[in-house]
Each structure stands twice: as C-alpha cells, then as structure tokens.
Assembly symmetry: C2
C-alpha cells in the first residue's frame, strides 16, 4: 500500500481571487510579512498496490482528466509513505 499526493494549483498567469482575498485580509488580522498567497487543492490517493511506474502513470492521467483542469491548472504527483511489499 502506498499513498500518492496530487497537488493542483492555478497556473501562475491565472488570477487567484481566493488567494488574493486571504493575502489582503492578513494585515487586517495582524499578520505582516506575506507578499502573496495562492490557494490550490491537494488530493491524497490511497493505492491498493505499490506506487510503481504504472500506478503513477494512471494517477497522472487521473489528475489530468479528473482532478485538475489543465487549461488553467498545473498539477504535481508524488509518492508519500511508500512501504516495500
């Protein structure tokens, strides 16, 4: 069993109103020293088997077609907590 993490963020050239709202609220709430915030999504995907190349290829396809909108979002796939079996 392994866990894959898919991080999905808006592409840098796409405006992120949620992140901007957070960044604007911070000084009002007493936090300084932050120049920008961007908000994205994180998916934890539990695999039945090991996170081998075939499984990761599947997850990349999944991210492209289901988890992210590749027109406006970038994603990264990585493996976490892999245990050899």
């Amino acid at each position: 069993m392994a866990r894959a993490i898919v991080d999905v963020m808006l592409k840098p050239e796409i405006l992120d109103p949620q992140g901007q709202a957070i960044a604007r609220a911070l000084p009002r709430l007493g936090f300084s020293g932050v120049s920008a915030v961007r908000q994205g999504k994180r998916f934890e995907i539990e695999l039945d088997g090991p996170a081998d190349e075939a499984a990761l290829a599947d997850i990349r396809k999944m991210a492209e077609t289901l988890l992210a909108n590749p027109v406006i979002e970038d994603f990264t796939v990585r493996v976490e907590g892999e245990t050899a079996e």
Copy 2:
C-alpha cells in the same frame, strides 16, 4: 524570499464526501487500484523575508485561525524553495 506551504486536510475521523465522490467515480472512468481519496487544500504563502522560526510561528498561527478549521481539519506547515539572503 521564501515560500511556505500549508496543507490543510480534514481530520481522518471526519467524513470527506468530495473525496468519496472522486473515489467512487474512478472505476466508472476506467481507473482501478485506488482504495480511497481525500481532498484538502494547499496554500502557497510567499514571504517577504526568510522563513525563520518567527515567520513560521506566524504562519502556524495564520493556519490555525484563518486557513484551517482546527475542529475538523489538520494542517502542516513546511518551507519550500528557501534561498539564503
């Protein structure tokens, strides 16, 4: 300048209907081998200065009070792409 990443996930004991909907849709879409999906949020926070202990303490407070709901969510803070200045 440094970037801090805050990952916010629902606590394990809290049901995640979004993740469950994705996990249920996967076999229908031709993906097998996934036993569970959980969806959370990821925040990229650009700092004006270095990600020292004071800045990270601030970000932890920010995550607790603004980015996550600690009643139902867990968060982790980590530093990415730090450059010495």
